[in-house]
Amino acid sequence: MSPIDSVSPEERELAPSTVALLTAIAQSTPPKAPPPAPSLELLVRYVGRAVSPEEAEAVDRAAGESDDVRSRLVNVWRTVKQLQRRPWAEVVRLSDEDSAESQIARAWMAVAARPAPSPREGLAELLRRGAEGARTALTVLRAAVSAEQFPRGGLYAGLSPALRAGAPRVLVEDERMGGELALDASPGHLELRARNPEAVEGRAAFVTLRGDANDVRLGSGVFHDGALRIETVDEALLAHGQLVVRFGDWPSQSEQPVLVFAVGDPPHVAEPFATLVETPQIVRGRLRMRVALDDSVPADGSGALRVDCALQPDDWQLLGEEVLAGRPPDPIEISFEAPGPEGPFDWPLRLHWRIL
């Protein structure tokens, strides 16, 4: 078939017989069956960061090679982003319908119901930034400083998405985060500093790192002059996990911690405004929580308490909004449909207040 004759001998790099043999071998080798196109369920898990590295690589490859797969991936990503901004109850309702969006909603529900993994970046990153001269801090709920108000837990802090996105100053300077405790992280030590030293003076606290499997004890001590310093932090231990600060002595057994971010909004709400007064529970598919609102919640206006939960460190799912007419009794009980197993809700929650 190949017009080999038309090539002059001096142009040849291989003899015609050699080319003929190699061509026959190459063209006779059966092609491997192409891998099946990624399913919708796999694309949703990819978008929800719930695939293995091998599955992620397979989706990357398929979407890189095929315009069709890539178009489906972008569509799934856009739809999931919309679903994340809709109350969970709406997502559940949508999943019962018969449409392309409802198929994605069903797959998204399965992803969202998986336990949230630990943040993929840990304190080691904070320490690294500290070494580079960037001041970093973690803040925690002010009201949770009163350990008595938090009978089953303690005081918890987690790495904020904003911090991980490379904007640590936001946390340090943004008064809306207004935590009672700030964490200064530097190579070799951690320092917890209270904005109100009197509230913590003389109190014992211990710090653990909640890892994938176990809590790692980082250290403990007593607050003095509003600060608690923990020396010789082993960076290698801090690659992953959530920092947990508890008041009191080391517990006899580990409890399920609750990681809470509190953000006031609009900006004039300078202080954290909400306290979880007991560990949230999922009961019959609904997340139930008791929340104490402080005086910063306007007494005369209507507003809404908006609750998101973190499915992944940077991924939030809106659970719903509770409309509050006038000054609510304190504490209030609110509930939303929510993903996850029955029992204590141990995923990160973000409480978000806004004026309607």
Partner: protein, 388 residues
């Protein structure tokens, strides 16, 4: 689909060794690769299928009988011996029929010793398509980074789909929990990387026989089954003498045209082969006009012009598009994977190459393919990889 793996030299030693049972098993393994190669090699030399199979059986018997005289010169030497045996039996076949036409075929000469290292370097690669294409990618497009697929996806989202960089970072930051979105700077580095650009251009411009046929027939790209279904229906209709009682699935083509498009572009049949088919309802003139229309619908030039426009801000992208290596990679793929004749390869590459300033002539294709320049490049590259 059977899985073919390169045969180790051990198989050859067993085949030529004293243990008859082991030799038989080794022979079976050798024949699993050798028989398809013989069919491919003899396809054009002996067009009558039954005669061809007779020759192949004779080659096998002679290989078995001469096994203990076979000199162990590695797999390259084995393949040379197979080809020489096939050539001799083919010559006998022509002599018996007093047909001298193919006796002076230059392809049927002895493989020179000087070429054996190249044969050795390539035979293990050629029998594993995945490895072959990976090697060809690295040879002509550049060695990919460990996270190459992710980078290529980012480049496609940015350059082909036109997504803003923030969306691209967010999408490729997903996947497994340990992934981080790339920073803007990282993404910029990926998008300017010559290897990423070369792979981007190649994967945008390479369109397999099936994919091209799907496009020409207006079938959905993500549904390969639709092509299968249409091909079955077109074959049924073409086999009947009567006029089809159903309308074709597209307004653009009649049933005879659909059948001809499938023969020409899916199965890479030549015009003169198609016109001789009993099932073909179109005459030569109609077929020529039909295939001209199809060529006008080829996506290659449009794709490369769009790519040139979308990557113009990236320094070096122009060099990638107008460089020989991209076009050599495409030519090799159409040749090795789609078994296209030179003219068809030219149709799918030359107009697009010209649109970005690269002249690709039939003469160049001839040098690249027929005198083994591409094979030689690949063999050298495989040898260097082996050493590395």
């Amino acid at each position: 689909m059977s899985t073919v793996t390169p045969l180790p030299d051990e198989t050859l030693r067993r085949f030529t060794g004293p243990d008859a049972g082991e030799a038989e098993r080794a022979f079976d393994r050798l024949m699993r690769q050798t028989t398809p190669m013989l069919r491919s090699y003899l396809q054009w030399k002996i067009p009558v299928p039954d005669d061809r199979e007779d020759v192949i059986q004779e080659v096998k018997q002679r290989l078995w009988r001469s096994r203990q005289r076979l000199e162990d010169r590695g797999m390259g030497g084995w393949w040379r011996y197979v080809k020489t045996t096939a050539d001799r039996i083919t010559i006998d076949y022509f002599r018996e029929r007093s047909a001298a036409a193919s006796l002076d075929d230059p392809e049927m000469g002895e493989i020179p010793d000087a070429d054996l290292p190249d044969v050795d370097a390539l035979v293990g690669v050629l029998v594993d398509r995945e490895r072959l294409y990976r090697l060809a990618d690295a040879c002509w497009l550049g060695a990919p980074a460990p996270d190459h697929s992710r980078r290529l996806l980012a480049a496609k989202l940015f350059y082909v789909d036109g997504l803003p960089w923030s969306d691209v970072c967010e999408i490729v930051g997903r996947g497994s929990p340990d992934r981080r979105p790339p920073s803007r700077r990282e993404l910029d580095d990926w998008l300017a990387d010559q290897t990423v650009l070369a792979h981007l251009a190649y994967s945008s411009l390479y369109v397999s026989n099936d994919a091209l046929t799907q496009r020409l027939l207006g079938l959905p790209a993500g549904d390969p089954e639709s092509l299968e279904r249409l091909a079955r229906r077109a074959a049924e209709i073409a086999a009947r003498d009567a006029e089809p009682d159903e309308a074709p699935p597209t307004e653009n083509w009649t049933w005879p045209e659909i059948a001809a498009i499938l023969w020409r572009f899916r199965h890479a049949m030549l015009l003169d082969q198609i016109v001789r088919l009993q099932a073909c309802r179109l005459d030569l003139n109609e077929l020529e006009q039909l295939f001209d229309r199809c060529r006008d619908l080829f996506p290659f030039s449009t794709t490369v012009v769009r790519l040139k426009e979308s990557t113009k801000a990236s320094p070096g992208a122009g060099d990638v598009l107008s460089g020989a290596k991209l076009w050599q990679r495409l030519v090799f793929q159409y040749f090795a994977a789609d078994t296209l004749p030179h003219r068809d390869i030219h149709d799918r590459t030359a107009p697009a190459a010209e649109a970005v300033g690269y002249q690709l002539t039939l003469g160049m294709l001839n040098v690249w393919l027929s005198n083994g320049r591409l094979m030689k490049s690949l063999a050298k590259f495989a040898g260097r990889e082996e050493q590395a």
